[in-house]
């Protein structure tokens, strides 16, 4: 009997159900078509619900899925039918908030795609092979962003300038928006 809480997958889909970034940690879906079929089911089953304020939850085919939507993005975390729903929800919240922090509040599909590298890193920092690594959004976002502030490495002048430039650019954009 598996006693450790396990995450089966984390999905980030757009408002039409297309894959934006996904990560599967279980062999339950061995092929890409199996994965796509699962995503389609999840999407259609949750599409009409409103999961914009609080995380919502559903259960089908022996999976528990918690989800949350923002703008044109749908976040999902799946666990086995006996998983503690609140643990799943904390992983979802960690992912959701970390993405918010990384994208500095402008969370939509376009912004996610433009920073897809950071989203992949974020997924990598939340769960490792199904086991929860971290659920605190600040820590996750910190780890993802750490490459511009890690003290152990010798940062070249140029990268700092680059980082500042991106930051400024983002700031301007959010001010103008």
């Amino acid at each position: 009997m598996e006693l450790c809480p396990l995450i089966k997958n984390i999905l980030l889909l757009d408002s039409e159900g297309n894959r934006v970034a996904v990560k599967y940690y279980s062999d339950d879906w061995p092929t890409n078509s199996a994965k796509e079929a699962f995503e389609k089911t999840v999407f259609t089953k949750t599409q009409k619900t409103s999961a914009r304020n609080e995380a919502e939850i559903t259960m089908f085919d022996n999976y528990v899925v918690v989800y949350k939507f923002v703008q044109d993005l749908h976040f999902f975390v799946t666990g086995g039918e006996n998983e503690n729903e609140i643990i799943l929800a904390s992983v979802l919240q960690g992912f959701f908030d970390a993405v918010g922090l990384i994208l500095r509040g402008t969370v939509d599909k376009r912004e996610v795609l433009e920073n897809l590298d950071l989203i992949f890193l974020c997924l990598d920092e939340i769960v490792d092979g199904g086991i929860v690594l971290e659920t605190d959004a600040n820590v996750i976002a910190g780890k993802v962003a750490s490459h511009s502030m890690d003290d152990g490495a010798s940062l070249s002048e140029q990268t700092i300038t680059q980082a500042l430039a991106t930051a400024r650019e983002r700031l301007t954009r959010s001010l103008l928006a």
Binding site: M1, L3, C4, P5, R19, A21, D27, P30, T31, N32, S33, K35, E36, T49, S50, R52, N53, E54, A55, E56, I57, T58, M59, F60, V66, F69, Q71, D72, N84, E85, I86, I87, A89, D108, K109, R110, L113, L116, D117, F120, L121, D124, D128, G129, I131, V132, L133, E134, T135, K143, S146, H147, S148, D150, G152, A153, S154, T159, Q162, A177
Partner: protein, 887 residues
């Protein structure tokens, strides 16, 4: 709350479809990946290219082996760059393409080992995770020292990385990971929450087979010092396991109950819930123990968070099955959940209420449900219907209200499954609650007046035919049934005719009227309907005289057909019109063994309203029985495998012969199934003369002739060989059927006394390596693969040449090996350029074999394959390769 947020800036709307990956194409990205080889690396550009590669993989694109290897090599060049962001992407990329070949792994190992000892925490943590993902046993011993250090590293991220990797590695290299338990134990005391969680998970897995150690671990930790909520949840699960396993389940001195109860006051919701759930799952929990858990779950029911409400209502729903009284306190909160926005919660609430509700609350409940039913999906409705059925059986006095409810929802819109669930429920209620019968039958009658599902109509008509005549006033059903004859399709009309006949048979007063109706059916434009009407008129004596219906007629109308339909069909086909009428008693009642040719299981058929049919008996068992009951072969021991029948003759020849190869440890038996297709001949003393000159290791030891082979009645003859014990000997056999043929007079069926010896050449037969392989599946291939270990692993690559398609190549190799595909990997997705197929089997002498096949298209048609075999015996691993090499 429902309205979606409007986008803040309107000017973006027209470019909503914009994506930085628009029109991305694999070939182009692979070209771009050449920048990884530049002497002057541009970290930003390299990161972008990796992101594109990851995007492609994430979208389901697959890389061929060559492409993957190339990308992998190129990515390893990026270790030269000192850019941290780029390094992070490199780590992710390596994990994503996770090369399996050892020689490839070695390339990165040194770079990763350098990172693993780096001063930068982030490097150490990530390098550990990557390295442990791609490492094997030998490499692991080299880096073990660093991993042990990392477990107690002062940086929590590094420690967690090492611990989580340890959890994964425990599956493949348990003996190594078990050596780390001192460090892991130290990490359990860590001040960092997640380190504690990961350390506890690993420590428990290391000790899970030692009950005493687990007990000790749980005892010491439950005394407090666990900070992380996740670790606390683990601890609750572990203590629950200890409770489950401890023999003395007397309430009061139950170990750890106090700990669980204390956790109900924890500040983290996940811990509170975990503890509450654990308490409800205790074996033989008393209501006093249950109460505090129910109380916290009740609080969750009114939470603003849907997840909490769902978790609570789901748990209470389960509790309601065993302790309905304990849950009744929550009924008021539960009732307010019926209108919950989240339909899963609402459905769970309803079904819980239906389980806990008392007789007096039923009516109120039904009213609430009626409002609720219209706006939920069919699948939820089915759950509710089933709950209502159970409720009705519990409170038979309430059948009127519940039956009304069912008939109301039966009239509303709904799909087949939903309608079937309702009809099934009504049928069950009619059967079990006598008072509900008449109303129930009328509801069903009304339903078939306007029912679009032929299947449901015929089932209901059949049911009416059995139950209707036993009611106080059978005549009122006739109208509904006869209406079907006017209004429905032929299938339903035929069913209606049968039902009418049943009324006629059972109710003598109705007989004259039934005859009138049946006679009208004689003019139906469908012959099945006409035939049935004619048949029933005759059996019931419709020639005017109203007679008592005889028992045999009743038996005919109401009895069940106890003959396998296949046999009946065969006998009817063979029956030739003659003076003698067809005798149903001549039909064999035995269920013939199914032809071994593997049929796809037919799509899920709707089950009958009655009992489901029993499945056909397993052929393997039948063979084993047949062979062990034959004295000649009884001494051969246990049958290892029987092949599928191999045809040795062309279709439509005089004699049809196929052969089943039975493999024993030191013997092989050929079972020749012969059929004589010439009515004018009787074959006697048929044997197969086998020439085994091309199968040197086989020596014939016995032969069992077939006494007599009359027309169209299959018989078997056997030939047995001795072969070296336990060795997968192969060979080719040529076969000749020898027999004495006698002329048969077709009019009398008598054979002449004198016969002539004759021979008939059959096709050759081969014993191949796959005959020594049993198809035995494994449930979790990866676990099995990893626990098998790489000790006897053999890996090689093969070019399969031009093939029709990837799927065809995959099938060919599966058939060649005769192994069981696992996890649906035999299915090749359309248009894929590469595919991994997992096979498992048991080779002769009971050696487990696992195979991982990786196929890739090399050029337009050429298929390349990498074959990795793991087994318990390297000779067997080699043998599998030989099968493929020679196949």
């Amino acid at each position: 709350m429902a309205q979606p947020l409007v986008k803040k800036d309107d000017d973006r709307d027209d470019e909503a479809d914009y994506s930085p990956f628009l029109g991305i194409e694999k070939g182009a990205v692979l070209q771009e990946a050449r920048v990884f080889n530049d002497p002057q690396l541009d970290p930003r550009r390299c990161s972008q290219v990796i992101t594109k590669l990851l995007y492609l993989l994430n979208q389901g694109e697959t890389f061929t082996k060559v492409e993957a290897t190339e990308v992998f090599f190129a990515v390893t060049k990026l270790f030269q760059s000192k850019d941290i962001g780029l390094r992070r992407m490199v780590y992710v990329m390596i994990k994503e393409i996770s090369p399996s070949a050892d020689e490839v792994v070695i390339i990165v190992t040194s770079s990763l080992m350098k990172d693993m000892t780096s001063k930068t925490d982030m490097y150490r943590a990530n390098a550990i995770r990557v390295l442990c993902r791609i490492t094997d046993g030998t490499l692991l011993t080299q880096i073990e020292r660093y991993l042990k250090q990392a477990i107690v590293d002062k940086n929590p991220v590094v420690a967690s990385a090492a611990l989580v990797s340890g959890i994964h590695l425990l599956q493949t290299n348990p003996e190594i990971v078990k050596r780390w338990s001192n460090e892991v134990q130290e990490a359990v005391q860590s001040r960092a929450a997640l380190v504690q969680f990961h350390a506890l998970a690993l420590l428990h897995q290391i000790r899970q087979n030692d009950r005493l150690a687990v007990n000790k671990l749980v005892s010491s930790l439950t005394k407090g010092s666990v900070r992380s909520p996740l670790a606390q949840c683990l601890l609750i699960r572990y203590s629950n396991q200890v409770i489950r396993e401890s023999a003395n389940t007397q309430a009061g001195d139950r170990p750890f109950y106090d700990f669980l109860e204390g956790c109900l006051r924890h500040k983290a919701e996940m811990v509170i819930f975990e503890a509450a759930r654990a308490i409800t799952e205790i074996n033989g929990v008393t209501s006093r123990e249950l109460t505090p858990a129910i109380t916290v779950l009740q609080l969750f029911l009114s939470s603003s968070k849907p997840v909490l409400r769902f978790a609570a209502v789901r748990t209470l729903n389960k509790v309601a099955m065993t302790h309905p009284m304990a849950v009744t306190n929550c009924n008021i909160d539960m009732e307010s959940l019926i209108s919950d926005q989240n339909r899963s919660i609402a459905t769970l609430a309803i079904t819980t209420l239906l389980k806990t509700g008392n007789e007096s609350s039923v009516d109120r409940l039904m009213k609430q449900i009626t409002n609720f039913m219209s706006d939920i999906a069919d699948e939820f409705k089915i759950v509710v219907v089933e709950a209502i059925r159970l409720l009705c059986l519990k409170f038979p006095l309430k059948h009127r209200a519940l039956m009304n409810f069912l008939s109301n929802i039966l009239r509303e819109e709904g799909g087949f499954e939903y309608k079937k669930a309702i009809v099934d429920s009504i049928v069950i209620l009619i059967r079990d609650i006598p008072e509900a019968k008449e109303t129930g039958l009328l509801h069903l009658c009304e339903f078939i007046e306007d029912c679009e599902f032929t299947y449901l109509c015929t089932q209901i008509l059949h049911f009416l035919g059995i139950e209707g005549p036993k009611t106080s006033d059978p005549s009122k059903y006739i109208r509904y049934i006869y209406n079907r004859v006017h209004l429905e399709n032929a299938t339903v009309r035929a069913a209606a005719v049968s039902t009418l006949a049943k009324f006629g048979a059972m109710v003598d007063t109705l007989k004259p009227r039934i005859f009138v109706l049946l006679r009208r059916c004689l003019f139906d434009n469908d012959d099945e309907v006409r035939d049935r009407a004619t048949l029933y008129l005759n059996t019931l004596g419709g020639d005017g005289a109203v007679v008592q219906t005889g028992d045999d007629v009743k038996e005919f109308l109401f009895g069940s057909l106890d003959i396998p339909l296949v046999n009946l069909e065969n006998s009817l086909k063979n029956y030739e019109p003659s003076e003698e009428s067809f005798d149903i008693n001549s039909v064999p009642r035995e269920v013939k063994t199914q032809p071994l040719a593997e049929k796809k299981a037919p799509g899920k058929k709707p089950t009958d309203l009655g009992a489901p049919l029993a499945g056909p008996p397993s052929t393997a068992d039948a063979y084993e029985k047949l062979l062990s009951s034959t004295p000649e072969f009884a001494s051969f021991g246990k049958l290892f495998k029987s092949s599928a029948p191999v045809e040795l003759t062309e279709a439509e020849t005089e004699y049809a012969v196929n052969v089943v190869k039975h493999i024993f440890d030191a013997h092989a038996v050929f079972q020749y199934n012969c059929t004589n297709t010439i009515p004018e001949q009787l074959l006697e003393n048929a044997t197969v003369i086998v020439d085994a000159s091309e199968a040197e290791e086989f020596a014939e030891v016995a032969s069992k002739p077939l006494r007599s082979l009359p027309y169209d009645s299959p018989g078997q003859t056997f030939v047995a060989f001795e072969k070296p014990e336990g060795i997968p000997a192969v060979g080719k056999f040529s076969n000749m059927l020898r027999f004495i043929v006698k002329e048969v007079d077709p009019s009398t069926g008598e054979a002449e006394d004198d016969g002539v010896e004759d021979e008939y050449q059959l096709e050759d037969l081969e014993i191949v390596a796959a005959d020594y392989m049993l198809k035995v599946g494994v449930s979790n291939f990866r676990n099995a693969w990893e626990s098998m270990g790489a000790d006897c692993e053999r890996v090689d690559e093969y070019g399969l040449g031009p093939r029709e398609s990837l799927a065809e190549a995959v099938n060919a190799v599966i058939n060649l090996l005769g192994m069981q595909p696992c996890e649906g990997t035999e299915v090749v997705p359309k248009n894929s350029r590469s595919h991994t197929c997992l096979l498992s089997g048991v080779y002769i002498c009971n050696v487990k074999v696992l195979v991982r096949l990786q196929f890739g298209l090399d050029g337009p048609k050429d298929v390349a394959m990498k074959l990795a075999v793991r087994s318990e015996d390297e000779a067997v691993s080699d043998a599998i390769h030989e099968i493929v090499a020679s196949g």
